[in-house]
Symmetry: D2
Subunit: 331 residues, 4 copies
């Protein structure tokens, strides 16, 4: 469904061209300070505008509709709403029967029997990540002094990001990219045995972000070609510090107190100006489709802040889950 | 926690050297035929014995303790038990304070305050995957005619598996590997929006398997260096068939009816004969540790059947979830 | 938390005097027709205005903010919002430290460490049931031809409701009441074994409604003084029809196809004009408290439509859960 | 399904005449001391033997199969198994098509399409409460110094329990009863807003126990005929102590620190010696059915220890959930 988390529970709703998108955070502890200005920095990072992103500008003003009182969370669900201002009736109807390659047009049509809101990707739009980023703002406060930082590592296979973007813009094509995320000041022993390992829960969340096609922790796929003596991280201090960090800060699914490191693969934006082949679902005829309008040349550029939010949400949940176990030992 | 799934719910329990390991499957529909012999093939594949796997042999006989009557599942929880026969008091006590690199010894000690069963990895042992394979046997019947097939793609960075194993055995070191899994006859429209995308739920499950450090779908990390015109899969038939399959059979988190394809990175076995450095948690002294006994040189060899089971369990759950939506359209 | 249901999942949010109250319904199947006018009848029933209810009038206009397109549910989450128009700064601050007897003032203060929104009961206000009634409107459509009907059986211990209300209004005191709810056209075999019996899940939901202090099914508490030969309902037809219905339509936690019947006890409204004793949490002094303003003399009068909504929501979830099991037998 | 709880998660499995019944407790904190003898007292109370209970005697020896090491819980799932020793092939086959009134025979047959284990009630047998009592033994340790005590208040409508039992035994009929449960030393502020009120979660659990048909808190159904000035409990101390306890220790769904009090109605045992009418599901003919063998005349006599276990399990879960919120205020 559209909810995630066990104790810090994030639920998203909305459509790209419907009335609104938004998020409900249930289980946020009371007493977290929260003001409108707290959202500014992360929303600016998610926004388009720089080269390689769509020039379309939206206000994206979050309205906190419940769960905050006198500048602090109350313990009741926090609902944050983004009303869609730009919902004038652009005509997407011709796309209903002509699914865009790489998009969810075909699968959502089949899943929801034709009742889906198909305008601009509807519920499958990247616009839904607004709610995620908003929840991330709160989660980042909650997990402090843990700190999450994600950045673009490469785009289009090149670490010279600007040059790669320039080439792609010129070609009318789109390119993918790789994001690396690091979490510092991670407490030892977050994560749960077996099905709720840190890798399990974090990858679950990360793969929810549209366009993600791979997740790897520490040495990741490179570990497959390493030997045990290379890959094993020797412990060098009783607090769990290791000499190397091939494990990405996680042993047996549980944080070992070293920096958490993981990378995600972002596929190239599905919407491209170049003509593509697809099929008309009603007539059965092949059609050539050139997607007009403005798109991100490289959606990966806007993903880091979403990955950060997703990670902070997961760590907040793990942190709350860990506290319950801790108490017993103290007694 | 130790449970997974929404409608087809798999819970595992047990320790490597405790009384038992096992699994409870709640939500398995009534009427699935199940006999003792159904487990034979997959358990043989998981078993050790071939070159590169530990020569230790265990019976691993599954006892169905509930939920099956007259050769069929009843609709009540199916509990499958593996009593540990080989629980004589090997002395693991000297390892309590000397965590093995790459293992969960350190993290489980911190998480459970010293109360964890540390013998042979305890609850974090690969032996827990017995329950997963057992549940997979049932799930595979349930999802028929969907068919899951996983195989080793490469080990130690080489596709010549036998040669790579020989080299590793000779060196006393261990090596990792890459597994590829394919699912055929997948119905269109499995998966749920946003947080329960197929990639999300499947990676959640797959990362539960010990030693997995990366998961990628379709072109995966390679997609990051592709262009949109290369990566997008053009639709060529109204049933959703695409000309290429860079997406790995999933659009917007939902199956598009093409073959599902994903790969997982398995790290090298953490237990190696070569001496390693670690730290004594009590004294704070560095210690040299050579892990005796018999281990898998390449645990990746035993992982494919576990990946298959994990995948079948996930697809069974998605299948049951999808049925509820379908009914509405019919009316 | 503030969510309920396994497949048809209802989440509520909001505060009595905050920005809004509302509901998110996740898992509602696509294709359910829904228009603004569908809400009218049930909202009118929930509204105050008749004798024994508060004369305060609010518009309570539901705004469907997501999940509905072209007059039908889309399969994405349905968010329904009620913006609070009447949020001018009434002064509740003097009540922060003086908990009203029978209300959640004391417990919410302790639970949320003083950060709770205390205005008008905040998140614990009966106003939150607006979201429940809205979700119930959709659930009722989904479960058709099942039909839920709840009515007041007695108030203040008397079946002459009007006379009892008149007496209570005159005295400045409040009175409780008993609601009976009946569900017709119930399919056989809804409900799940053990922890998710119909009685379990339904009582869970019903006790969420503020002011409910008892729930009984069929003969209920009277069954405790009956004999087995009196209480057992003899089967008289192969469709499960029984001669009597002491079980209230449920055997072993699962519907038997007969009418479902249960009763709920509603306590008297906690807010009364008569002076009460309470304690000042800061000073520790006893205080006399007379609650001013307009209250419901008998909140039970407004509860039936909420009980109906709650019941429909539960039955919708059971119905969707049942469909997944059914499919297997067909194959 | 067959699982209950959010952090302290209890899952039951098994059948009356299958291989076993048992329980898995996931989320039990590490470090809880547990020995075989801890189970003795509560299992003796659940056992039959006294007048009004079946003279059949079973060993009911719990085997702890996982999650306990060196006399303490480890933090991994605790599985407790009861192998059924008395599974010789009594012939229940003639009952398959002739559902016993008051039992789950008819509903389980319809729900599971004839695949259900029908022997002795199968998965719907009261024997499943063995697992609940076992989990309760652990939960009671966890919630200490909270203390749960349940006792029979009346049977067959009479508080003279022995006389009522004698009369019922003589008549060959069965009788019901009322159990009252009290919880002392309850911390303030357990319970969660709206759907997870203490009344909601506790009634959910209590109605899982076979034969329960009503639950009421504090004054319960009597509250419906009280006035607000009678029912409201005045606060008399800043720790939340109230002069009366009509609320049963709960305001707004959250514990107020006063004694928790609730009552449950137990229906008369469905199995009786007197002949009853039922219908043959295959032939459609009415049949007269006299249930042979030994049954409990008054199952209510064996219910108190089950109610205690159920209550302790619920309070353990609430306690663990509450700890996570508490930590935030401290910082």
């Amino acid at each position: 469904m559209n909810s995630f988390g066990k104790l810090f529970r994030t639920s998203i709703f909305g459509e790209s061209h419907g009335e609104s998108v938004g998020v409900v955070i249930d289980g946020c502890p009371a007493g977290v300070p929260l003001n409108q200005s707290d959202f500014t920095a992360d929303f600016a990072r998610r926004k388009s505008g720089s080269k390689g992103t769509t020039p379309r500008q939206e206000p994206d003003k979050p309205r906190v509709m419940s769960g905050v009182f006198n500048g602090h969370t109350t313990g009741a669900p926090v609902m944050i709403l983004f009303e869609n201002t730009d919902t004038r009736s652009r005509d997407y109807r011709h796309l209903v029967d002509v699914p865009r390659p790489g998009h969810a047009d075909f699968t959502s049509r089949q899943k929801f029997g034709g009742f889906q809101d198909y305008r601009g990707g509807g519920h499958f739009s990247g616009r839904l990540t607004l709610g995620l980023v908003a929840a991330g703002v709160i989660a980042k406060k909650l997990i402090d002094p843990m700190h999450v930082n994600a950045a673009v590592l490469e785009v289009g296979g090149s670490a010279d990001i600007e040059a790669a973007i320039d080439r792609a813009v010129a070609s009318g094509d789109s390119i993918g990219g790789i994001i690396e995320c690091r979490v510092n000041n991670v407490p030892v022993a977050l994560g749960e045995p077996f099905f709720d390992s840190v890798e399990s829960v974090l990858s679950h969340m990360i793969f929810s972000i549209p366009a993600i096609k791979g997740v790897e922790f520490g040495s990741g796929f490179r570990a497959a070609s390493m030997t045990g003596s290379e890959h094993n991280d020797n412990f060098i201090a009783t607090d769990g510090t290791t000499g190397t960090n091939h494990a990405g800060g996680i042993n047996g699914g549980i944080t070992n107190g070293n920096e958490m490191v993981f990378r995600v693969a972002v596929k190239p934006t599905s919407s491209i100006h170049l003509p593509q082949h697809t099929i008309n679902m009603k007539s059965g005829d092949m059609e050539s489709l050139a997607i007009e309008g403005r798109h991100d040349t490289c959606i990966a550029l806007r993903v880091p802040v979403v990955v950060e939010a997703a990670t902070a949400i997961v760590m907040a949940d793990f942190m709350l889950r860990a506290q319950q176990a801790g108490r017993i030992f103290e007694n």
